[in-house]
Subunit: 349 residues, 2 copies
DNA sequence: TTGAAAGCGTTACCAG
DNA sequence: CTGGTAACGCTTTCAA
């Protein structure tokens, strides 16, 4: 295990001062080009690696941000991360990632780790309601700039980036109503989930607007763990009950896949006998048969916006930066009651 | 912008020495419990944050690893990352992530950034053949331990974790043959892609074993950019040609989705008239109609193994750690010519 | 049980 | 153009 090479080693072997070596390596102007060349060559020869820790310490400048997500193998979050990393790379920031797997305890550990690692800021999609109060408070107290992604907090001073989930829920439900569906069920997420609640609100809003009754029996709660299984279960339950809906709107595409399975098993035709709308426009949506109508969520764009906000907060100490992405419904066949089957996938270039 | 609090500040405000404060904060035994309590309280009050950079510098101990992937929103890679992060978190390592988006130049930038950031090691899935020679050499020269994921290099000293892609290709093809398909096409990846080539090799091996001809016209090349589109295009081309195959094996599930679209459009029944086998067992596989037979790739497990290897390399300076995950075919309906659905997994020998 | 001082690898400042 | 010195925030060693 050979010792790590430092400026000092280069300096010694060339009989110059450490200062000079530093200058050469940092492309300063006040140095003899000759000396500079010699130093660079020597550095290369000795496989010198710059120690960013020492530099940061000395300059009191830190170039990393922390990203905290509930789960990175979830397609949406991975696109958010992609967006963040894209911008971060351009700005020369290092991206440290932590996955909470929905555990608030783990979230806290990650935050603490990030803080002592001197991250300049944090982009976080809080794991649940509870963490909004506790863990964010930790960041606030320690004065770490942070941007909330997808799940805003209740504090008006916080900066966030999110979707208009209320309108998303509204558009989805309205679309089903306009297609002629009369009895629309909603499979939602857990009660503490802000997003799920927003979509639920939109759902109810649409029903009200069209004077349809809100039937609590048609509202089911999935627990986020296995959407597919929950979708399947609740759909069976709904379709076999006396109070049978003719359409189902689900809080995630994942749950919608379960709806498909159940419908298939019960030989119920989508969309003729059962309209389905999902949420997120995940990869599977287009591949389901029939393709799933869903609400778009461009995660990558959101990640980029989050990074921009964070940078503004870090540099200009801005706060209360807020951006709400408009909800957009992507209509495919699963919700077109009077559909003639038409494959409208685009295979451009 | 209030100044960051350091040991010195706590020491001063309590009239003790920096050493004592350090001791208190690090739970050393040789300190008066009284003093310790006072210090801890003060630290809390002043919102002290430990500076890991200074600690690392002083102790010459660094606790972060770098992970370099071609693309993180690709499901497989995101599960690999998940596996890595899981283990890393338990071992108290920070995970810094870089996405090359398949650019070898970007890969190099990321490696250089990671090196100066004193990562203890790197887990990398190289972006292409070229980078295997260039960019890995950089890591070797600077003596950074690294583990290759999914795409091994040619250097026998390197440690890696990969799948048995040859056997994967073999099993997939053999299965189709055994199902009674006679003319099996293969849609592969780019020529430089080691993995694609391995699967191709397995494909050919199976054909040979069963004395089927290898027809280069039935081998198509997708460029990794839009698998779905390529799958669609090539499938159309293949199915409309005189030399029409009765089964298609694709190097990724993504491409297989394109096969489905084309088959649907041409009203060709899967699996009766066209057997299809994909690769990766991605999320969509089960949701396609009919569900797609594919070769499993448990990314998370692979990520965990990679981290374990890396840690062994870092700590014990081990090298040439190699693990090849067995290929396992997951049989679903898309390949069952005389299908009654029976889900079972087949192991290779 | 406590403190003073050295030093990790680097850069900034000032002098020459 | 070059070099000496101090300092970044912390831990370690040695001495009290």
């Amino acid at each position: 295990m050979s010792k790590r090479i430092g400026l000092k080693d280069i300096a010694k072997s060339l009989n110059v001062s450490v200062t000079t070596v530093s200058r050469a390596l940092n492309d300063k102007f006040d140095i003899n080009p000759e000396t500079r060349k010699r130093i660079l060559a020597k550095a290369e020869e000795l496989n010198y690696r710059r120690n960013a820790y020492a530099v940061s310490l000395r300059k009191n400048e830190y170039f990393s941000i922390g990203v905290i997500l509930p789960s990175i193998d979830h397609y949406f979050f991975s696109t958010v991360l992609k967006g963040i990393m894209n911008k971060a790379h351009m700005a020369n920031y290092l991206v440290i990632v932590g996955e909470t797997t929905h555990y608030i305890q783990k979230e806290q550990e990650i935050i603490e780790q990030f803080i002592s690692h001197c991250v300049s800021g944090v982009i976080i999609s809080p794991s649940n309601q509870n963490s909004l109060t506790n863990n964010l408070e930790l960041l606030r107290r320690k004065r770490i700039p942070y941007i909330l992604v997808d799940r805003p907090s209740l504090d008006v001073n916080d900066s966030f980036v999110k979707y208009d989930d209320i309108n998303g829920g509204f558009l989805a439900t309205q679309h089903l109503i306009e297609q002629g569906f009369k009895k629309i069920a909603f499979i939602k997420g857990l009660d503490y989930c802000v997003i799920s609640n927003a979509r639920l609100e939109g759902y109810k809003k649409a029903l009200k607007k069209y004077n349809l009754p809100i039937d609590e029996d048609l509202i089911k709660t999935s627990n986020h763990m296995d959407g597919n299984a929950d979708g399947y279960l609740y759909t069976r339950q709904l379709l076999l009950s006396a109070n049978k809906p003719d359409a189902i709107f689900t809080v995630t595409d994942d749950i919608a896949t379960g709806v498909y399975s159940a419908a298939k098993e019960l030989k119920i035709n989508i969309p003729k006998d059962l309209g389905v709308v999902g949420y997120s426009d995940s990869k599977i949506a287009t591949h389901l048969d029939p393709p799933l109508t869903t609400v778009e969520q461009p995660g990558s764009e959101m990640g980029e916006q989050a990074f921009d906000f964070l940078q503004q907060t870090i540099i200009k100490n801005n706060s209360q930066l807020k951006r709400i992405f408009e909800a957009r419904l992507i209509i495919r066949e699963s919700s077109l009651k009077s559909a003639k089957l038409k494959v409208h996938k685009q295979h451009s270039n």
